[in-house]
Amino acid sequence: MPAHHLSDEILMAYAAGSLPEPLSLVVVSHVTLCPACRAQMETYEALGGSLIEEIAPVGLPDSALSDIFARLDDEASGPGEADPWGRAPARTPADHRSVDGSVPRPLRDYLGQDLSALNWRSVIRGVEEAEIALDGGEVRTRLMRIQPGVAVPKHTHGGEEVTLVLTGGYSDAGGHYARGDVQVADPTVDHQPVADPGEPCLCLVISDAPLKLTGPIGRWLNPFITY
């Protein structure tokens, strides 16, 4: 069970559907590994369900329902989806078989099955990163791999940064971070993470461009900025 969690505010924003995609990816990856935040997130989805029932309904045309039935019938007789009246194809166990379980499925969907096939580039000795193709605007989304015991040079962030540990762990002045833990670093934090001995530390990292404090992440994480 992770020790460093996501804030309620972010879990609620995910449930409401107002988080930008990179931050949503961090949320679903964390809740895969954290039953506590998962339950919390689902409570906020239940709140959405409750609110949508209380919304003042806006009438639909009388034909709306028969249109749906007609659409399903049409698709059933024409080409296209196999059996629109039938059931959605379920994921088979085979879909999961080749997955090693270290990377949560929603993140894996962005990466493909083979981590070594990603476009890794060396940052410094013992630290590599691979960009994740995702239309996040000014937000960068990447995987970082730090070899055991390696210290990432002391640095401050130009913008906000959110890190989710996938394997291994690291320590910095803020504490120890292991699988499933989330660290939110604002630009004022001057930190020097040191990877744990043992296995390499693999992290999902999203970061706002330097000096883009009003960007999509900062908007969510930094309580002091007005815009």
Partner: protein, 219 residues
């Protein structure tokens, strides 16, 4: 057997005067007939009937209840009427196709349909992918047994939430609704309500704390 149980649940429902069984043609979406909130167990029964038996009448009732609400939700989010109606269709088609995967022990029907409408909205209005966790993910860390036992049953949770929302102050309730119905970061909400951002955040936090407490209290 399962079928019989389903029918029993449906008969018990509190809605018999506004929802009757029968042909599809009779379904009307007149708002005055659907303004009342439905019994969550009844809605779950309808969704199960669609999932298990491809029951068109049950689907028609779900559509009558949720269609106009999903439309209202999408319009609050900035969709024009035509787009909202198109997305209602797509959402309800998704409801039909995925009903089998609905699990009443995990979520209420309204929650399940809300997440479908929300995802359609993100897809269409924001043109973004919507990552979701997968309950069958081999990487998923399950809840400890005692936590799972302590979890409030979904239908019960939904009822408690609707009670709890009514106990929020008007300001708090308005903020929570803005957070869910208008695709806005809290900063934008602050702008529009002319409240300082810190106030928006602390009021939302209070509201959330209040709702959470209401959920955990013994009945």
């Amino acid at each position: 057997m399962e079928q019989a149980a389903n029918v029993a649940i449906r008969r018990e429902a509190v809605l018999p005067d506004s929802f009757t069984f029968g042909g599809v043609a009779r379904v009307s979406t007149a708002p005055e007939r659907v303004n009342r909130k439905a019994d969550p167990r009844y809605l779950a029964g309808l969704l199960n009937a669609v999932g298990r038996n491809r029951d068109r009448d049950a689907f028609a009732e779900l559509f009558q209840y949720f269609g106009p609400r999903v439309k209202a939700y999408l319009m609050r989010q900035g969709a024009n009427e035509a787009l909202a109606e198109e997305l209602v269709q797509e959402s309800m088609i998704m409801v039909w196709r995925r009903a089998e995967s609905f699990d009443v022990s995990k979520s209420g029907a309204s929650t399940w349909i809300f997440t479908i409408a929300r995802n359609k909205r993100i897809d269409a209005l924001r043109r973004e992918k919507r990552p979701e966790y997968d309950p069958d993910d081999p990487a998923l860390v399950p809840a400890a047994v005692e936590d799972a036992d302590a979890m409030v049953e979904a239908a019960q949770q939904s009822q408690r939430l609707s009670v709890a929302i009514k106990t929020l102050s008007k300001e708090q309730a308005d903020l929570v609704k803005m957070a869910y119905f208008e695709d806005k970061a809290h900063g934008r909400i602050a702008e529009e309500t002319a409240l300082p951002l810190g106030t928006v955040k602390s009021r939302l936090r209070l509201a959330l704390g209040h709702l959470r407490k209401a959920l955990m209290e013994e009945q």
